[in-house]
Amino acid sequence: MADANAVPRITASRRWARQTRHGDVFFWLLTLFFALMIIGLVVAVGVVTYTGSAAARAAYGWSFLWGTEWNPVETTLYPVSFGAWPAIRGTLLSSLIALILAAPTGVAIGIFLSELCPLRLRQPLGFMVELLAAIPSVIYGLWGVAVFANWFNDWVTNPIAESVGQFVPWLAGPVAVSRGLAITGTILAIMILPTISAITRDMLQAVPNHQREAMLSLGATRWEVIWGAVVPYARAGIVGGIMLGLGRALGETMAATMLIGNSTRIEESIFYPATTAAALVASELPNANDPLHESSLIGLALALFGITLLLNLIARYLVWQTARGPAGEKV
């Protein structure tokens, strides 16, 4: 005989506890809310820059991007006009210089750290390279302005401008101030080295050992193993790392602002002052009184955000694909 009292009475609170799985539903909702907030932050960046640049987009449309005149102040010679090309050109060129210098070096460092370095040195060397990424960009700018600029002038800019620069217009001098695209690109290269080398190293370490063993068993030298069997396997990921480095160079603000000279005139030589999108925004937005001026600067920020978003998307896909291994392989 079943006693009615033996069956536990299901009180409202118990039912509530069971339905919410003893509060787990709330916990899930709470953490979900904050996780979604991260998406919200990204959306906020997009929305704010998009709406903030409405006036500039209405005034210029897409031609904003290749307008060559940036004149925030009305003068007798030039009317007020906002064309982003000087800034975009400076951004692209300084990042290109950085990429040309940093991509081979960074990949070589990654190869060294992953394949060739004695095991005892691997940790400390890797840490030192990563430390380069942790130094605040304003310190790079400070060092660049106060120390590196003079060396660069004496050893790179002036010799090149006086010899090759006589015949090649984009290397021409004379160099009065040590501010310009070339030095900015060089400092940016130092800044993006750790990104490229750290990702290259991680990608190479994800290459399975049988790749190396197979190549070694064919009698290859160590470099042939690396170049023939390891690097091609990780190629997509390495390209992804270089793209992430490029993204960092494009958006770098302080070092660029301090070193590029902030001139919105388009000069042919890479030793002359120029400007980048980030530097232009940083130096002019706090003083922009004209709504169109402000909106144009926000438009530049929108363009920067769009480019880095796209680069990140492609790069993360490549890195993820490489880290996962080739299609169909299950280890």
């Binding site: 991260i38 960046v45 605040p136 310190i139 030298t221 160590r222 470099w223 602002t257």
Partner: protein
Amino acid sequence: MSLETNMLTYQQRSRVDKTLRGCTIVATSIAIVPLVLIIAYVLFVGGSALNRDFFTQTYRPPVPAGIDPLTGLPIDGMEEGDLSQVQARGGVLHGIVGTLMVTITALLFSLPIGILAGIFLAEYPDTPFNTFIRFCCDVLSGAPSIVIGVVGFTLIVKPMGSYSGIAGAIALTFLMVPTIARTTEEILKLVPNAVREAAMAMGAPMWYSTLTVVLPAALTGIVTGALLAFARGAGETAPLLLTIQGNSNLSFDLLAPMAALPILTYKYIESPFPAENQLAWGTAFVLMILVLGINLLVRVTTARIKR
């Protein structure tokens, strides 16, 4: 590739091997050289700029040599107007206070967001949009910091009508959340599942086991993430230029413009006065010690966790 390789003799192949392996060593030293140079310069030049005034005084306008700083009158027998003769006066107490207040406020904002989001990513791994959230983290940490500054500027500074410490803190939150979320996620994944199962076997609901068993086990790692985020926030300049603007006086008011160390570095190095350039190196020294110290500390503790 293979055909070409076969055409080389062994000596040639060996030479290629040695040369290119040498190149990677050269490349690595190329990266180490600027690191050592930058650290050495900041530590030596910056270290010599430090004195008691540096930490206890705020900004004072530089006075050219030959002018009595108290009366503003020319001093007899001294030449006027030589900029290099201007003595270092004042300090960066306002910058230290500003950096600490703004970064700690930002940390208070970003810790709950980052930790709870990290818990979500680690403890509910089957959610279909987790990859997307991780991608958003990468986008935020990869976004140009000036863009974050523009967001802080249009979202908070414009409606409030003035630059403020709180706007800087909110801008920094954008940059610190992804670091905290990702480190929290990584470290929670290192906590063995047996710990969770043991807690649940004792009848604890998931939230209780997460908060009282899993999270404490991962505490060191989460503190690590918070420290790294703090180091990153303290060194950011561009977002702060557009949100807290800078302030020459000591200010504890988060609703008013504040100073910050990286902003002072930026402003003082552009100054024509060598005395103010000294202050720039000094602020860089403080920043560098902060960043290096936190990174070394994190390095030591994570090495211990992994062991």
